[in-house]
Structure formats: structure tokens, C-alpha cells
């Protein structure tokens, strides 16, 4: 259990770094979604079911939709 927890947390860090690093904003957004879902998992592990539920619907769902909608009206790539 603890190991799973640790792995998930490390995954979080990797996702965060990747999301910040990606030049392609759409990919970054998708990684952010993955980040949110993993976060929801971590919270389920920590018995915060309510919050996990919310994070899954809001963080992974709504935020992604909104960012993608915003991307569709601006630019997809980050410039150097």
C-alpha cells in the first residue's frame, strides 16, 4: 500500500515536470489531466473520497475542457 502510494506520488512529480516542460500545449494539457487523475487516486488512497471525486470531475474534466477550448481559440504551441 505504501509502495503504491509512493509510486503514485513519484508519478505526480514526473507528470508535473512533463506538463511544465512540454512545448506542445495540448500535450501539456493532457498530461495535466493525467496529473489530476493520479492526484485523485492518491486522495482515494488517503480516504478522501469526496475530494478525489471532485478532483476527478473538476480537475481532470472541466479544467481540461476549458483549457482545450481556450487553446482552440489561441495558439497551440509555446514559443521559445
Amino acid at each position: 500500500m505504501i509502495d503504491l502510494d509512493l509510486i503514485l506520488l513519484l508519478f505526480l512529480v514526473i507528470c508535473a515536470i512533463a506538463a511544465v516542460h512540454m512545448k506542445d500545449l495540448l500535450s501539456a494539457t493532457m498530461i495535466l489531466t493525467a496529473y489530476s487523475l493520479i492526484m485523485a487516486l492518491v486522495w482515494t488512497n488517503l480516504n478522501a473520497v469526496d475530494v478525489a471525486f471532485t478532483e476527478a470531475s473538476v480537475g481532470a474534466g472541466i479544467t481540461t475542457v476549458l483549457v482545450i477550448a481556450a487553446l482552440s481559440r489561441t495558439k497551440r504551441r509555446e514559443e521559445d
Binding site: D50, V58, V65, A69, A70, R73
Partner: protein
């Protein structure tokens, strides 16, 4: 995406279930995971899904700008109104167990339920509004 027959059919079938689930989550707030906020998000998501699949304009036909704006306000008013009703019955603001519904326990449950519904309506319509505002094409 509007031409994709599979997506359209699946969406048509899924949306009622999503909405049903949303209502369930709203109603079930006080005794299990979930509540007005999460349920509201799910309800909002169902409309957003519809709008994504069938196009923004089609989505706007279902929930017009006027309607979503009204629902925004109505949800908050339900919330605030229940609080004020509590004051009218001599309790503190949002003190539901004072409501005259037989037992204090029932009153409390109903009060929370009312609040959850208010929150759910607001959240759903706010989500829809934000989505439409963000995704709207320039005219």
C-alpha cells in the same frame, strides 16, 4: 465531429445516464461521497458533452444564454433563501433544524438537501456558461 455517427449515438444514449447520475450525486450528498458541487459539475458536463459533439450552436438551443444566466441566479437564491427562511423561523442563518418539518433531524436533512440542490443548479449552469463563453467562436 458533428458527422461522426458513433459519437452522436453514444452521446445520445449516455447523456440521460450521466444526468441521472448527477442527480443521484446531488441528492446523496449528506450521507456518501458527492454533493451539490460534484453533482452540478456532472450535470454541467453532460451539457458540455452534448455541445462538443453536436456543436456549440446546437448546445445553445438546449440551454439558452438567458436560461443559464437565470439558473445561475436562481441557484444562489435558493441557497440564500433557505438561509433566510431559517432566520424567519427564529433560528440563526442556515440553522436548518429549526425548520418546521416535524423532527429536527428531518428538517436538517431537508435543509441540507435544499442547499445541495441550490449549489448543484448554480454549479451546473456556471460550468455551462463558462464553457460556452470560452469556446464561443468570434462572431
Amino acid at each position: 465531429m458533428q458527422d461522426n455517427i458513433i459519437l452522436r449515438t453514444v452521446t445520445r444514449i449516455l447523456i440521460p445516464f450521466i444526468q441521472l447520475y448527477g442527480f443521484y450525486v446531488i441528492m446523496h450528498g449528506e450521507s456518501g461521497p458527492g454533493g451539490g458541487f460534484q453533482g452540478g459539475v456532472i450535470l454541467g458536463a453532460s451539457i458540455i458533452l452534448y455541445a462538443i459533439v453536436f456543436g456549440i450552436d446546437q448546445g445553445r438551443k438546449i440551454i439558452s444564454e438567458k436560461l443559464s444566466d437565470t439558473l445561475n441566479s436562481v441557484g444562489v437564491l435558493i441557497y440564500a433563501g433557505i438561509g433566510l427562511i431559517c432566520v424567519l423561523f427564529g433560528g440563526k442563518y442556515l440553522e436548518y433544524n429549526i425548520l418546521p418539518l416535524g423532527s429536527a433531524h428531518l428538517a436538517s436533512d431537508m435543509g441540507i438537501l435544499g442547499i445541495e440542490i441550490g449549489v448543484g443548479i448554480t454549479v451546473a449552469s456556471v460550468m455551462i456558461t463558462i464553457f460556452f463563453e470560452t469556446a464561443r467562436r468570434e462572431r
